[in-house]
């Protein structure tokens, strides 16, 4: 009886997911980022924003797919949410399990530390001195998390703080809980 998030993730990955070639995903995402860079004339700040927007659009749809497959119960705390994201969410869609760490004392912020990133396999950032300081190559993942969590009433902010492509030692994304969204009644005549 699958109970821990890790077991749930493994079980769903093995049974309920259709697999696709990883290199296809890597190359497709790579050409998206490269084309964005060309289109925006190497304005990497804009590229980051666009990747985040694209990720947001993916996330709001992805959450339905996730809930349909994983069928997990409602998370009681933000810590539960973090565990589910890393052990089930990333496992199902990218077959990786980033580590959750660096919790702040108020439990509203955590880090996801990626020891492998299939989106960035074989990638070398361009040599123009700007990319290595401005571009967050995997920024689409931040948008995905933001969009998906917003659909389950959790408003978060996600951004990368380090990336091996930029020369850092680890790839780390910081996720901050802004607030839990309450459903609001529309203003109108009662």
């Amino acid at each position: 009886m699958a109970r821990t998030p890790r077991q749930v993730g493994e079980e769903v990955w093995k049974t309920r997911i259709e697999k696709v070639n990883a290199e296809l995903v890597t190359l497709t995402y790579g050409s998206v980022v490269a084309q964005l860079c060309k289109d925006f004339g190497n304005d990497y700040i804009q590229v980051n924003e666009q990747l985040d927007k694209m990720g947001y659009n993916i996330g709001i749809r992805l959450i339905e797919d996730f809930l349909a497959r994983a069928n997990t119960s409602r998370c009681r705390t933000f810590k539960d949410t973090a565990e589910i994201i890393s052990k089930v969410g990333f496992k199902i869609f990218l077959n990786i399990t980033p580590t959750v760490g660096n919790w702040t004392p108020d439990n509203k912020q955590f880090s996801l530390i990626f020891d492998e990133n299939p989106l960035a396999d074989f990638v070398e950032l361009p040599d123009d001195g700007k990319a290595v300081n401005e571009l967050w190559y995997s920024n689409v993942l931040c948008g995905v998390l933001r969009g998906a969590l917003e659909m389950v009433q959790t408003q978060v902010e996600a951004q990368f703080v380090s990336d091996v492509l930029r020369g850092h030692e680890t790839t780390e994304m910081r996720v901050t809980l802004i607030r839990i969204l309450e459903d609001e009644m529309p203003v109108g005549d009662d």
């Binding site: 790579g30 490269a34 070398e124």
Partner: protein
């Protein structure tokens, strides 16, 4: 024993080149080409391009072995599936070793090609690539 490696692109453009010496028998890896020879290396290598293009149709393997001679220097060639030419200027015959070197170089080249920011026929300026080629040279030549 010195070597000059050149990678030529599909439009006969230079993509990468490297001069190095042997690491065998106490060599320190620096090339021992005379100053004249250093200038001539790219010319010699490029002049054998015609022969490469002729020979590629005669065989169905990628390694073309020695295709040209210049005085006492030999030029070996390896043609990749994507029409990239790896040319090596060397002094002594070592077909098998050079073939292994080329095969590993092809592997490195494909990995470079996988990066979305690298276009075909672009020059390779990455210091990581440079370092890895030098390690290959150390391993085989």
């Amino acid at each position: 024993m010195s070597f000059y490696l050149a990678i030529i692109g599909t439009k006969d453009n230079a993509v990468y080149d490297l001069e190095f010496g042997t690491y065998r028998q106490g060599g320190d890896g620096t090339s021992k080409f005379s100053a004249d020879m250093k200038q001539l290396c790219p010319f010699i290598v490029h002049s054998s391009l015609d022969i490469v293009e002729e020979m590629q149709w005669n065989t169905n393997v990628m390694h073309l072995k020695v295709i040209d001679k210049f005085y006492n220097y030999l030029i070996s060639a390896y043609m990749t599936a994507g029409n990239m030419k790896f040319l090596l200027l060397h002094e002594t015959r070592a077909d098998d070793v050079i073939r292994q070197f080329f095969v590993d170089l092809y592997d490195l080249y494909v990995k470079t090609l996988m990066s979305p920011f690298y276009a075909v026929d672009q020059t390779i300026t990455s210091p990581v690539f440079d370092q890895r080629v030098k390690m290959l040279a150390k391993k085989y030549l």
